[in-house]
């Protein structure tokens, strides 16, 4: 097994690691790596910060172990290797009437990555988190032994959302959800401001629900944006396939996402939707994976990359959310990507991100002012009893994260037991001292 030596990074590109990467194509090769030189597994490196980094160390890229191995067309029970992407599963099973029950904004996420970060989708208020649909998983431990791990055990709770710290996820049992059609019927509404947005998100009965926010707007327009409510269109054939995704061939200059450009872009984006809204039918991947419409779009932020800040605030902290958005708008650092969603309380692991409330995600170009802004935002999040999403995080401090994740010490106990020597530790886990937590 050859290692590739070099630099790699997560999707945000602001943090980088230098080290060795293996990419086994056979199960026997993976077993040999864990025997000779155990190290953390990563998926497609679509987490944003350092969750997928192991600087001056090694990591195993799981993307070539991507086979589906069993499927029951009556119940939707699927068994697959951890390296398969959710986009590939959607492509493969939607025509047969089944789909992954939870889909994040990119289809490039692997099954293993979706579990290790217990990801959520536009249907979290109804369907819960990804890990809640996992029926079992096979975990290769630090001792090289494969174990079947099932819901209800401490090891399962430590593995789901557990950032790869309990071992290498090899095979996964997943309950797919019925997919009654090949298109999504989307209702787009223009929303004038934050209060209306929260009302509409709270009232919506739609299965899929997501808000885009113009994070540059201030005053009366604060929190204005577009609400998308959607259902799978039963029996619908796939709409005429959208164009192949465009790509960004090189790092863009910094001026591309300067404040006036973003303001103008957002205003234009908002006005695409007529004042009384519109209904559209869209292809499944086009609706579920908006982040994949332009491939390599992370290069738009230039060589120094960007940070994504994503937090959840519990219900009852609407005023806090307003302060957060005011701070963002005043900073003039916002990019066009700003998303507001309602989350339910569904979560499957000790370190799962979701809690019932509002989640806000923002992309911010990597520069000192952005780090300062994020620091202020985090302080507000902690004060409101919310938390930041570790899959996105690059900047948080250990003390704050410990306050955000009350089950952290329980998780750390299970992890220390599963991996006493810390062979699966990553940059994020070291930065946030997650394994050291105790009562």
């Amino acid at each position: 097994m050859r290692w590739s030596e070099g630099e790699w990074h997560g999707w945000g590109r602001a943090l980088r690691a230098h080290g060795r990467l293996a990419r086994p194509e056979k199960r026997a090769d993976l077993a040999a790596i864990l025997h000779d030189m155990p190290c953390p597994a990563i998926g497609n490196a679509r987490s944003y910060g350092d969750a997928c980094l192991n600087g001056d160390g090694a990591a195993i890229r799981m993307t070539r172990l991507d086979r589906v191995s069993d499927f029951d067309p009556e119940t939707g029970e699927l068994t697959a290797e951890a390296g398969v992407t959710l986009g590939a599963l959607l492509r493969l099973f939607a025509p047969r009437g089944w789909m992954p029950p939870v889909l994040p904004g990119t289809g490039a996420v692997t099954l293993g990555g979706a579990i290790a970060n217990d990801v959520h989708g536009k249907n979290h208020h109804g369907a819960g988190s990804f890990g809640q649909h996992v029926t079992w998983l096979r975990l290769l431990g630090a001792d090289g032994v494969a174990r079947e791990v099932r819901p209800g055990s401490d090891l399962f709770r430590a593995t789901v959302g557990g950032l790869g710290q309990t071992g290498v996820i090899l095979d996964v049992g997943l309950r797919l959800a019925p997919c009654p059609g090949q298109a999504v019927q989307v209702r787009e509404s223009r929303i004038a401001g934050l209060d209306t947005f929260l009302d509409r998100l709270g009232e919506s009965r739609a299965t899929y629900c997501v808000g885009w926010i113009d994070a540059t707007a201030r005053g009366a327009g604060l929190g204005r944006g577009i609400l998308e409510e959607a259902e799978i269109a039963a029996g619908a054939p796939p709409p005429v396939s959208p164009r192949a995704p465009a790509t960004v061939p090189f790092d863009a200059p910094g001026a591309l996402l300067s404040a006036p450009v973003v303001r103008a872009f957002n205003a234009a984006y908002l006005s695409r939707v007529p004042a009384d809204g519109r209904d559209r039918q869209r292809a499944l991947p086009e609706f579920f994976f908006p982040l994949d419409r332009i491939s390599a779009w992370n290069r738009l932020y230039g060589r120094r990359g960007f940070h994504q800040f994503q937090c959840v605030l519990p219900h009852g902290s609407d005023a806090r959310l307003r302060e957060l958005l005011e701070d963002v708008a005043a900073s003039k650092l916002a990019s066009p990507l700003a998303v507001l969603k309602r989350l339910g309380d569904g979560r499957a692991g000790d370190l799962s991100f979701p809690m019932a409330g509002w989640t806000l995600a923002l992309d911010l170009r990597n520069r000192p002012e952005a780090a300062e802004l994020i620091d202020r935002l985090e302080a507000r999040v902690v004060a409101s009893g919310g938390r930041v999403y570790l899959a996105k995080d690059a900047l948080a401090a250990p003390e704050r994260v410990a306050r955000m994740y009350p089950a952290l010490s329980q998780w750390a106990d299970a992890v220390r037991q599963a991996d006493p020597d810390g062979v699966f530790a990553t940059d994020l886990v070291r930065r946030l001292r997650l394994r050291e937590a105790s009562e």
Partner: protein, 243 residues
């Protein structure tokens, strides 16, 4: 009546992508590989992707006694074959142990050629059928870095050329594929790679070439021009180059 494909070296990344493309259109697949567990894992994947059937068969290009098993239970449709089997030890390892030369030739040339020679009468009898042989641009000229590997691939290409000549008279077709750098375990971590193609792109190019009944394809296509230049360099100059 669906087509059947025997795939030698079925667990390689390129073969995997090719098999998935064939499963999409319902082909029956015989997956011949040394690592039988791995081939069985892959067979399950291909069945779920629509393969008419998918069967794993233990195959070692250096053990001819196992070759006959490849031809059992092949289904009703016309039988085709694709050869992806290959090994590329470091040239320095070969220099240290010249016995490896025979092993490289068995894996890359004589083993696959024996299988294809067993298949040839069947294709002649069918009056149809395709053989895809994956060689390498390394076979186009002996270079410092991998000339034993290159020699075995050149021999295989010459064999394929002759087999093409033979089978074309009876309705069969042989296509030689010369991939440049492809993003597989064979190139992972090697320095000096450029314009690396994905296994899926190579698989798509192979199917397109088969459709058009091409004789020799380079994938990606620009390698034809690159290799034309490399072949055109006069030997007195070439022997001083390190490319």
């Amino acid at each position: 009546m669906t087509e059947t494909w025997i795939i030698l070296g079925a667990t390689s990344a390129m073969a995997r992508a090719f098999a998935r493309a064939l499963a999409d259109r319902g082909a029956g697949l015989v997956l011949a590989a040394r690592d039988l567990d791995e081939a069985e894992q892959q067979a399950r994947d291909l069945r779920l992707r629509g393969a008419g059937f998918a069967r794993a068969v233990a195959f070692d290009a250096r053990r001819p006694e196992g070759f006959a098993a490849l031809f059992e239970n092949l289904g009703e449709g016309p039988v085709n074959a694709a050869v992806f089997a290959g090994a590329m030890p470091d040239q320095s390892a070969i220099d240290a142990d010249p016995a490896l030369i025979a092993a490289v030739c068995e894996t890359n040339f004589t083993g696959p050629a024996r299988v294809l020679s067993l298949l040839a009468p069947r294709i002649e009898a069918q009056g149809t059928g395709v053989i895809v042989g994956v060689g390498s641009v390394a076979g186009d000229r002996g270079r410092l870095g991998n000339y034993v590997y290159g020699a075995s691939k050149a021999a295989f290409a010459t064999y394929l050329s002759g087999l093409r000549n033979r089978l074309a008279r009876r309705g069969g077709h042989v296509m030689t594929v010369k991939p440049g750098f492809v993003d597989t375990a064979m190139t992972w971590g090697l320095g000096g790679m450029f314009l690396v193609a994905s296994p899926e792109a190579v698989a798509a190019a192979i199917l397109k070439g088969v459709e058009a009944r091409r004789n020799v394809i380079y994938v990606p296509g620009f390698w034809r021009a690159i290799m034309a230049i490399i072949r055109a360099i006069p030997e007195p100059i070439f022997k001083k180059l390190k490319i």
